[in-house]
């Protein structure tokens, strides 16, 4: 199984743990990720609001870079995934916009026919393409006893409904069940994590983050697994600030789902970027799981 791979900027620095664990997990599961040559920024969330045409053209450049031999592009980060998918859909639904974009791409000698590349999130690739049997077969250290709260956030499950149920997604829950973990029925699993609201108005952002942590606490969660650098950053890095604002005492580690998946597949912790998280997951992992 061969996919064009779009890492995205966050994976280079603040989400290095995600990058490392993604590559490790892909190796073990036999998923070949061919990094896109000379990929550029995916426009994150701000660019679209500034200037739609340029944003689309910049993002479409990534789609055009996918070699003709491959027709599937996967991105681990929710924002990159959504932007790439949205541009593909926009170009298909609005031929005139598509024409302008291709005009822009032509300057760089590139062209993109809408629909040629299928944009998939990494979770889809692992859960659906690799599938239950293949994953279960490779589980070396089942995560028995570890209470994991799968957190999806917004951009992977909305607005497009074809990845999972927008209100009550289940793919990550199933994945962790295959790994033997105790999956928390996390009621706010697809509620907003605040996104970049933390830069604009902290009270609102921290209230949203507090709700996620509060609910995790009520369901005595050991670790929250997420699939987007933004959500991981908000829940992990701002935990102390939230405690300060609402004088709560949350101490819940937040990891990328590929880190836990890597653990179950027998990859040593140091190769999965453990320790990079602010609220350390070490204690609960060692306490709950057998000697790693």
């Amino acid at each position: 199984m061969k996919y064009a791979f779009y890492p995205g900027c966050s994976l280079e620095v603040n989400a290095a743990a995600y990058d490392v664990s993604v590559r490790a997990v892909a190796r073990v599961l036999g998923v070949e990720l061919v990094e896109l040559d000379d990929w550029n920024c995916c426009g994150a969330t701000e660019y679209f609001s500034q200037d739609e045409l340029t944003a689309c053209a910049v993002i479409a450049r990534n789609l055009a870079l996918v070699e003709p031999s491959m027709n599937q592009l996967t991105a681990p980060c929710a924002a990159c995934f959504l932007n790439l998918k949205k541009v593909d859909r926009l170009m298909a639904e609005h031929p005139d916009l598509g024409g302008k974009i291709n005009e822009a791409l032509a300057a760089g000698g590139l062209h993109y026919d809408p629909g040629r590349v299928r944009v998939r999130h990494l979770l889809e690739v692992i859960h659906t393409d690799v599938g239950e049997e293949a994953i279960k077969a490779k589980v070396v250290r089942p995560l028995t006893g570890l209470r994991v709260a799968p957190y999806y956030g917004c951009q992977v499950v909305r607005p497009y409904k074809d990845v999972d149920d927008p209100e009550y997604p289940v793919k990550m829950d199933e994945l962790f069940r295959w790994l033997g973990a105790e999956v928390v029925d996390y009621p706010v699993k697809s509620h907003c994590c605040g996104g970049h609201m933390t830069q604009i108005s902290e009270p609102e952002a921290f209230e949203l983050i507090r709700r996620l942590l509060q609910s995790a606490l009520e369901y005595d969660t050991d670790v929250i697994a997420c699939l987007c650098p933004m959500c991981q950053l908000n829940m992990d890095a701002y935990q102390s600030r939230v405690n300060g604002m609402f004088n709560t005492s949350f101490h819940i580690p937040v990891l990328y789902f590929t880190q836990l998946l890597g653990l179950a597949l027998g990859v040593p912790e140091k190769d999965l970027g453990f320790g990079k998280e602010i609220v350390s997951a070490g204690p609960v992992i060692h306490a709950k799981l057998a000697a790693c």
Binding site: D165, D185, P187, R211, Q214, E218
Partner: protein, 669 residues
């Protein structure tokens, strides 16, 4: 001698005249269509005056054919056929031409509509000239009627027919008749106890000498046609002999195997492996659930056999196939509840204290698992606040677009029961309060006075993720209050979801067995939604109750009685006329090639090896015409739809094409 055709173009008030220039069409027909002796247009052809005009023309002008250009033949073909026969003209020498539903009502401009009307009339005249006189075939009507479904609608139909002295066979799928109504505690708006008004009808039907009840049985196959249906019923093995069992219930008491009752108690209560759905079950004969009975699963136990003095237990009882001849069939198969799990954000199946309306019916029922005490899922704590969510799965494009008609009133009933029994705060989350029958609005006002809170807005989410103080351990209803114009979060202890009424899962399959179709949603299709709601496209098959569309008990009872009245009408008349549209084979021309032999699903074509010809058994032929089209020698003719008639109709309908083309080389074909 050329035919003398009378053409009558109806205005239908403005329905046709609004878009079609009726005078011009009538004039055009007289001048341009051959053999048209009389051509008139009139405001209302189906009125007695309109019909009188036709009768008078037939007598005075010596008309030998009539064409009526008006509405769909499904509406008034019979009316104008009767007008012709009154005037001594064979009714099958009349042809209707649909210029209302197919022309004026769907037209965007007047001229194309008028031109289309002309071509349809030209076609009808060309066809009618080739139609031959026919006599409808009379079939005797067997007075016995089959009623499928023992709910309130089926019971009403059964009792009406039985009281009128006609034999009825009532077939019910579950072990007891009573349908959903038997599960209810109270009924709105009068709040009288459901069992009190239902059980008398159930026992009356059971003891009635004209009623044969087959419970725990299903309709398997139907053949034949109106007046003479042949039905096969599969009576599933109860493993209890009905003739010996006294209904004492000793077997049930001593049966060691207890299982969750997902049918009658909708998963709230338990029942034994040998059980009766509810105490007042009719017939009062238990059934062994073979999936859960230890004897059937592991070959041990047989306690019930030991406890049964009359020795009624019979483990080797097999399903029984019963063949019956009936004249008419009434389908009253009712509805099923929407699976509330399909809306995950309401949390049913995940959050313990979210109940469906049927679960709550059992909660507040004195004979229910909690003997009427309204308690949470733990069976002990009484809720201090209850939320009732309307339209769960109804009025929702993702699930069912239809309104389920009964949930608003049922919600009010639940509100009253909660206020009366627990004094808890009751919140109703509604979109529109639909209280449109007798005494319904009054009941709504009563609940307003009793202090039930009504919040207008569709519920977005039911969650136990508390945010505000005071929300811990509660179920929080997140909704938009459209009257206040803002989002609200109401913490409650218990939620009741008013699930939608949906067609039965096998409705389509059962409908196909009886030759009737279903609407897009899955309800049975009636012959006419307003004027003929209990009859169907197939003569002799009637529908009553919720299977035809979500409705409340009074409407279901009314339809049950209406269907019975229609059947009685046919029985007293004694015979029913069947359209004389049948196929026939000219045995001289038939070469015995047998291509037609497997064209007929009703086995109405048989091969006579001796004379090397095939023959149509007229009684079984339903007139579909498939064999007529298949015959390579062209020797099978279909009366009233033969090749010459349809050929002429094609020529007539393309009168303007042939004129425009100018005939090519001389065609003597």
């Amino acid at each position: 001698m050329a035919e003398r055709v009378g053409v009558y173009v109806c205005h239908c008030g403005s329905n046709i005249a609004g878009m079609v220039d009726c005078e011009a069409v009538a004039r055009w027909a007289k001048e341009n269509v051959s053999d048209v002796a009389v051509s008139r247009d009139y405001k209302f052809m189906c009125s007695s005056l309109g019909q009188a005009m036709i009768e008078e023309d037939i007598r005075k002008e010596g008309l030998t054919r009539v064409v009526v250009a008006a509405c769909s033949p499904h509406l008034h073909e019979k009316t104008f056929r009767r007008a012709c026969s009154n005037a001594g003209l064979n009714p099958y020498l009349m042809q209707m031409c649909n210029i209302r539903e197919h022309v004026s009502w769907v037209a965007q401009e007047r001229d194309p509509a008028t031109e289309k009307a002309k071509s349809l009339i030209s076609a009808a005249v060309a066809r009618v000239k080739r139609q031959e006189p026919l006599e409808p075939m009379k079939v005797g009507v067997n007075p016995r009627t089959l009623v499928v479904g023992g709910g309130i609608a089926g019971l009403q139909a059964t009792l009406e027919l039985a009281d009128a002295g006609y034999p009825v066979v009532l077939v019910e799928r579950s072990p007891s008749i009573g349908g959903h109504m038997a599960q209810f505690d109270k009924t709105f708006p009068t709040l009288d106890c459901s069992a009190c008004i239902l059980t008398p009808k159930m026992s009356e039907a059971y003891q009635h000498e004209n009623v044969t009840l087959y419970s725990y049985a299903e309709l398997e196959e139907v053949s034949g046609s109106v007046g003479a249906f042949k039905v096969r019923i599969r009576k599933r093995a109860r493993s209890v002999r009905e003739d010996l069992c006294t209904g004492c219930g000793a077997c049930i008491e001593k049966c060691p195997r207890k299982v969750v009752d997902n049918d009658f108690e909708v998963g709230l209560g338990y029942r034994k492996a040998i059980y009766m759905p509810f105490p007042q079950a009719v017939p009062k004969i238990p059934v062994i659930d073979r999936e859960n009975c230890t004897w059937f699963q592991r070959g041990k136990c047989r306690v019930c056999e030991k406890m049964c003095q009359p020795g009624a237990i019979d483990y080797d009882q097999q399903d029984e196939i019963i063949e019956l001849d009936v004249g008419n069939i009434i389908l009253a198969t009712g509805w099923k509840l929407f699976d509330c799990r399909k809306i995950p954000q309401y949390g049913y199946g995940r959050l313990a204290n979210v109940f469906t309306n049927m679960e709550f019916e059992r909660l507040c029922n004195a004979a229910g698992p909690t003997s009427g005490k309204i308690v949470l899922r733990d069976g002990k704590t009484e809720p201090r606040s209850v939320a009732i969510v309307h339209c769960v799965g109804s009025r929702d494009k993702n699930h069912n677009e239809h309104c389920s008609a009964v949930c608003c009133m049922a919600a009010l009933k639940f509100g009253h029961l909660v206020l009366e029994k627990t004094g808890a705060e009751v919140y109703s989350f509604y979109i529109d309060m639909r209280t449109n029958q007798k005494m319904y609005e009054e009941f709504y006002c009563r609940l307003l006075e009793e202090g039930m809170h009504f919040i207008r807005g569709r519920v977005a989410e039911i969650t136990d993720a508390a945010r505000m103080p005071g929300e811990e351990g509660k179920l929080i209803i997140q909704c938009e209050d459209t009257l206040l114009g803002r989002q609200r979060r109401i913490p409650v202890d218990m939620v009741i979801l008013m699930g939608a009424l949906e067609p039965q899962a096998d409705a389509k399959e059962l409908g196909l067995k009886c030759g009737i179709s279903c609407s897009m949603a899955g309800w049975y299709t009636e012959r006419h939604p307003k004027l003929d709601p209990v009859a169907t496209m197939t003569d002799g098959v009637f529908v009553a109750g919720a299977c035809q569309g979500a409705k409340d008990i009074p409407a279901a009872v009314a339809q049950g009685a209406a269907a019975a009245a229609r059947v009685m009408g046919m029985i007293t008349k004694g015979t029913v006329e069947i359209e004389p549209v049948v196929a026939s084979i000219d045995e001289e021309g038939c070469s015995g090639c047998r291509i037609c032999n497997n064209m007929c699903p009703y086995n109405a074509i048989e091969y006579d090896a001796g004379r090397n010809v095939s023959r149509v058994i007229t009684a079984l032929c339903k007139g579909c015409g498939t064999c007529v089209a298949a015959c390579p020698a062209g020797v099978i003719t279909g009366s009233h739809f033969n090749n010459e008639q349809i050929g002429a109709e094609i020529e007539g309908i393309l009168w303007d094409a042939r004129a425009a083309a100018g005939r090519g080389a001389a065609a003597a074909v």
